[in-house]
Symmetry: C2
Subunit: 353 residues, 2 copies
């Protein structure tokens, strides 16, 4: 079934208001969440609305957080999310980074006491309109085994970097630091298809193609596969340290799960989930027009490279931008189980989709 | 053959003085270069000394550069390396980042007009003694094909991040953004062994195990292999943009080659090679002692994870630290061809190894 963006927006905003979010926060959260649906990252969009509601029902989300800076220098800050929706905390923290960058050239914000923030790319892209490079990362529930580990100690810990161009569309990289994001594995589970080599290991650390392996003590593998997973492990670790050890959030195995039916660790080492945001003014390095002209040249050079038969070299952000343009006009397709979940949520609050 | 560190240091320092480096610069360059040998990254150490000398003979290295800041804000700077050795330019640029961080909380320095800087990890580690997180990256000669590309547009573009701990040894990640660094391929070439799947492609973009494929129009592959090379392509691109589009260095296919027998592009788009350095004071986020205690906990949690039979979970930097401790005492082993190259260099300047 296909839904116009505006229809999903109104519904989602009403849900967030129904759980007690102030109007502005409900709007912020809705924009953050639906950015995933628009950009084709369906696992992170309205499909998760029921998950956020269940976390709220379990008392694990504060709908009226006082999000604020608790520690700072001219170019840095720690933001306390006060247990709020990551979808609300993240845009506010990114604004702090942008403000710092305006004055000091760059701004770097580590966040504690937050929850899942949707897609990293959306938050990084907030820098683009200000002629800044934006960065966003977050830790997440432990599903990933470091190289040689049988224990799951890291989340899929995504990194997003958005770079403004001039006449070319902007460069927007947004990727999990695992071989495959958990959302891709969920798709294979639904279809009962085997996973490609290098995505997962079983409880003994042996490679597996069973898409249900995580339910049996298995783990996702860091980016890099058989000969390079130590590099993905490095990247995931850096995200965890910047997001949580710097801020005072939970890290490693202590990161609370997204799903309400799993309890958070009884002995938290910090507060909530952690994020990390960065903003760099491009004119803190060279005149903005000069940078953008070279960025245009960089992009067109890469896009016009000779490619393998039937393919084209893509610039990070190309596929998501195209999907976004289409879905704004043609609407957002939702799977039947997602529609059913949204109806369930609507019934709780007397809202119709 | 095994050489004491001090013997290689004295020889290398004399070589750098012989090509005209001022005494302080010769010392800086020697420390940077030999850090690779100490840490077991043999491809980037004295094995490359003859390469630097040949670049100097070709007039492509300025032994007396005036390295300086040409653009800045409170937390950023662009450094012009004046065509000097990257081994000299990089430590000076990293110092600028450390100075900025002291005042503004963080410091970010993009460098143009430089040359190869040795190993990224060494420069990032300069932050550790100051209770700062250090970062270093560099672009490099184009050997890597972006996803779907037949053209080589990126270097192996390494990223290093060093994080201070308390009682535990520091966390030091340092990795190429390719499946395998070029040095590892060179080892297979010498031994005439096939390369593992996912390292290289042939001139038609097909996977290959021929270690000599790069000489026949092939390319190294970005980190991530068959199903994830777009992520390594993102990472390598980010390094290229931060190092060169921000600073005004050459980027993509315009990055000049390290080897003197290959000419730099006739139509440079910028100046020399580019680097990017970052420094973040940990007490710009939370009290340093608090951060370090949690970092110790992070490290011991990961190191003590249950591991696959016969293995242990390593912390990034563990192997290099152990090799370094051994080599400082037992000396640095060099392959015969490397010793021969060093003797050739010595003869040029009347120096004995």
């Amino acid at each position: 079934m296909i839904f116009p963006y505006n229809q999903l927006f109104t519904f989602t905003e009403s849900v967030f208001k129904s759980i007690g979010c102030p109007d502005d926060d409900a709007t912020l959260a809705t924009e953050s969440l639906l950015a995933a649906d628009l950009r084709g990252i369906d696992s992170h969009g309205v499909a998760r609305l029921i998950g956020y509601v269940r976390l709220w029902e379990a008392g694990r989300i504060n709908p009226t957080p006082r999000v604020g800076v608790v520690y700072e220098t001219p170019s840095t800050a720690v933001v306390d999310g006060d247990g709020g929706l990551g979808l609300v905390v993240a845009p506010k923290a990114m604004n702090v980074a942008l403000e710092k960058a305006r004055v000091a050239g760059t701004g770097w914000v580590s966040v504690k006491n937050s929850n899942h923030f949707g897609i990293a790319g959306y938050h990084a892209m907030k820098a683009l309109a200000h002629d800044m490079i934006g960065m966003a990362m977050t830790n997440a529930s432990p599903l990933v085994a470091p190289t040689y580990s049988l224990d799951r100690l890291l989340g899929t810990n995504p990194i997003a970097v958005a770079v403004p161009a001039g006449e070319q569309p902007d460069f927007v990289a947004d990727f999990a630091t695992t071989t495959a994001a958990n959302g891709k594995l969920e798709i294979l589970q639904r279809k009962q298809l085997p996973a490609p080599d290098g995505w997962i290991q079983d409880k003994n650390g042996q490679g597996s193609t069973n898409p249900n392996e995580l339910k049996e003590g298995g783990a996702l593998l860091p980016l890099g596969g058989e000969t390079g997973s130590h590099k993905g492990y490095c990247l995931g670790s850096i995200v965890d340290i910047f997001s949580a050890v710097l801020s005072g959030a939970n890290y490693g195995p202590w990161v609370p799960p997204f799903v309400a039916f799993l309890q958070p660790p009884a002995d938290p080492i910090g507060q909530g989930i952690g994020h990390f945001f960065g903003a760099m003014r491009i004119d803190a390095f060279r005149p903005a027009a000069e940078f953008k002209a070279h960025m245009d040249n960089w992009i067109s050079t890469f896009r016009n490279a000779r490619a393998v038969e039937g393919k084209q070299v893509l610039i990070p952000g190309d596929p998501e931008r195209e999907i976004s343009a289409t879905r704004l006009i043609e609407g957002i397709p939702l799977l039947d189980p997602v529609v059913k979940d949204l109806e369930t949520v609507g019934q709780k609050f007397g809202l119709t989709l």
